[in-house]
């Protein structure tokens, strides 16, 4: 199954048969004071610099979050979408829970965007899926619902099933749903990592949809986070995950992903691995 995303000039395919897709997470003002302050003034310079750096480091798609307290999110997200589309050729992933902001950004965007995200909550499904269908965008479906975060892989699979079904009801092709099995931090529950990995396997087997993951939460509250995140990416990739929202500017993560692509048979003659190695040595 192939999920196609595109900007005006570039297409990216999310699929187990294609190189892993890195969705760069850095254009998000949460915990980033300088970005937040610049966005509050509608100054996109830091965001554009983040975009360039992430793409140079291997990002294929850019997550764009314009959640600045007190700001006009629809206007800001649309402005960011336009500015980014002029500057970089990577497709964009609009990160908002505000339907008005998503609408503004999707309407302005020339290409096929990814929406981050809907959950299995009725309110979210009813707000996000019609937008995705109308603007022919793909959607990340996070496996929580009105009762919260399901504790077991089976319960999470049920939410994924519901999201896929509801998307079909809106006429969306199944490949335009990418399921996020939800990584909670292992610092609060040491079984959290395993539940997510087991969910990935179930969703892959039963629904066959592509899997993505917000892959940086898992290590929150722990030391040596990069090593945990890198291991988690590798474990997820082994279970069929083919995209992740992560930070490619962390060299260990980008390297782990490239190594996984090679080991999963997605890097013919190891050409990308070798090229990245040479680039690093310079």
């Amino acid at each position: 199954m192939e999920t196609h995303l595109s900007s005006k000039t570039k297409q990216i395919i999310i699929s187990p048969d294609h190189p892993f897709v890195i969705i760069g997470e850095r254009i998000n003002p949460t915990r980033r004071k300088s970005l937040m302050e610049s966005l509050a003034k509608s100054d996109f310079s830091i965001a554009l610099e983040d975009a360039r750096k992430q793409i140079a480091a291997g990002a294929h798609v850019l997550d764009v979050n314009a959640g600045v307290p007190g700001a006009d999110e629809p206007k800001l997200l649309e402005g960011l979408a336009r500015a980014l589309a002029q500057t970089v050729d990577a497709p964009l992933c609009f990160d908002s829970a505000n339907p008005a902001a998503l609408t503004a950004a999707l309407a302005a965007y020339e290409g096929k965007a990814l929406i981050n995200s809907t959950t299995g909550e009725e309110k979210m499904l009813n707000a996000v899926l019609p937008l995705a269908a109308k603007y022919r965008a793909a959607v990340i479906g996070v496996v929580t619902d009105d009762s919260g975060v399901p504790a077991t892989p089976d319960a999470r699979l049920a939410v994924a099933r519901k999201i896929v079904q509801r998307a079909a009801d809106h006429g969306m092709p199944r490949e335009d749903i990418v399921i996020d099995c939800l990584a909670l931090t292992v610092s609060a529950d040491s079984l959290a990592g395993r539940v997510t990995l087991n969910t990935m396997r179930l969703v892959q087997q039963e629904l066959g949809v592509n899997l993505s993951l917000g892959a940086s939460n898992v290590s929150f509250g722990l030391p040596d986070r990069v090593a945990i995140n890198a291991a988690y990416l590798a474990l997820g990739i082994a279970r069929g995950m083919c995209a992740a929202i992560t930070d490619p500017t962390v060299p260990e993560l980008a390297t782990t992903i490239r190594a996984c692509d090679l080991l999963m048979g997605r890097d013919e003659y190891a050409m990308r691995w070798i090229k990245a190695f040479r680039a690093r040595k310079k």
């Binding site: 949460t30 979050n65 959640g67 307290p69 007190g70 829970a97 505000n98 931090t185 610092s187 609060a188």
Partner: protein, 212 residues
């Protein structure tokens, strides 16, 4: 007292069985419950908070320390009640509507409990109405709100407005925190104070109820 030092260390180390047996022993030796609470449990959690703030302790270590503290506190409760020892204040706490993140909020609740507060934890994804109802029902001195997302942070303002509209805002001090939250945002929406982390939340909450 050596026994209370051991108890304090047991909590800091997250040794739950050790903590309960030392609390039992201290009680059976006639140590006043309030002294066990203050010099053992509260003092230990203050140290755990300090270690966390300094980056020496990590989230799981705080959680196991909290588990030990809670076990000890359960044992101590009847004795505290018998001696008529009051909590230093009551806090209603929750993560705002639409937001499922509860770790930060849980850590704050732990530190507040460890500082001697009584906690009413409303959990995560708490609607403004639920905050209003809890304030009316429990009559706390403090309300704590957490939000981890830029997209859910505006619910703090909505919740404050609901507290105002219900006429219960004047009776409580409101503290807020969470990754996207800033001191400025707290002031902008009319909260009483902001806390950047769990340990300072406890310090500031204590100062707030003691009028400092």
């Amino acid at each position: 007292m050596a026994l209370l030092d051991d108890l304090r260390q047991g909590v800091i180390d997250g040794n739950a069985p050790g903590t309960t047996s030392l609390v039992k022993q201290a009680l059976s030796e006639g140590t006043p419950a309030e002294k066990i609470l203050n010099d053992g449990l509260i003092s230990a959690m203050a140290e755990v908070g300090r270690l966390f703030e300094a980056g020496e302790y990590f989230v799981p270590e705080m959680l196991v320390a909290a588990r030990a503290m809670k076990g000890g506190l359960e044992l101590l409760r009847p004795a505290l009640a018998a001696a008529n020892v009051q909590a230093i204040g009551k806090v209603v706490i929750g993560t705002v509507q639409g937001d499922l993140h509860d770790i930060g909020k849980n850590l704050v609740a732990i530190m507040l409990e460890g500082a001697g507060f009584e906690i009413v934890d409303l959990g995560s994804d708490v609607s403004p109405q639920k905050f209003v109802d809890a304030v009316a029902a429990h009559k706390p001195q403090l309300v704590g709100m957490s939000a981890l997302l830029t997209t859910t942070m505006p619910k703090m303002k909505t919740t404050l407005e609901a507290l105002n509209a219900a006429g219960v805002r004047g009776n409580v001090k409101v503290m807020i925190g969470g990754a996207p939250v800033t001191e400025k945002y707290a002031m902008d929406i009319g909260a009483d104070f902001y806390a950047p982390d769990a340990s300072s939340a406890a310090t500031r909450a204590k100062a707030a109820v003691q009028g400092r």
